[in-house]
Symmetry: C2
Subunit: 116 residues, 2 copies
Amino acid sequence: MVVESALLSDKHIDRLFHALADATRRDIVARLLEREQSVSTLAAHYSMSFAAVQKHVAVLEKASLVGKVKRGREQIVHADPATLRRATRLLTAWEGVWAERVARMDEILAEPPTDH
Amino acid sequence: MVVESALLSDKHIDRLFHALADATRRDIVARLLEREQSVSTLAAHYSMSFAAVQKHVAVLEKASLVGKVKRGREQIVHADPATLRRATRLLTAWEGVWAERVARMDEILAEPPTDH
DNA sequence: CTAACGTACAACCAAATGGTTGTAGAAAGC
DNA sequence: GCTTTCTACAACCATTTGGTTGTACGTTAG
């Protein structure tokens, strides 16, 4: 059974989960889900250098979790909920695999014993 | 708003998503959701060395996505769907943040204009 | 027009990662 | 009891990652 979304390649899923495997990047995503903001506004929340935050944003961009649009001298970063939804769907599909397995076992257990 | 599950520390969530940021490890998880199996049975599916697969299993274990139980000389690996569910809940909660934001904007747009 | 602000990226560094090979021990099968 | 199977892990290596500093360019404000 193919569970992984046909819309995402393995490489893309790699990037997606890798992007979420860091507390700073998760925090960035959480903030952007609340509201879009510029890179430097985001950077102000973290004790690391601006360049470090930029790198995190770049990782999130490559994972399609966020996007950027230029407004004057600022780059405004926004979340991409569609990508988030795809990630959720992938995990939900996996839960489905498990649920099916449990259901099969329940059926087997519910059957009356037969002669061997 | 604190979205991340109170049941998981940041470090644990790091490990969880990092564990899923590799195609081989996702495949291992998918196979184990179907059925538990030994490390060497798992290893037979991949063209890398046994030690490499062992390392992947160790990463999944640290992330609590799988567990191992010794049966004779074999270590039987099984999936831990509870951890999977926690990961799904985290992403679902994030979708909720986005949905709330969209709902707020819809409210604002639905309000009749008022005098300034 | 200039200073300040905001951003991009190169180069660097230490640590982590993913894979290999080799060694060793436990358990099963003959 | 010995061979085979299964597993664990150390040591190694190349690559990637996460952070820093420094330089440079575009845009805004005065």
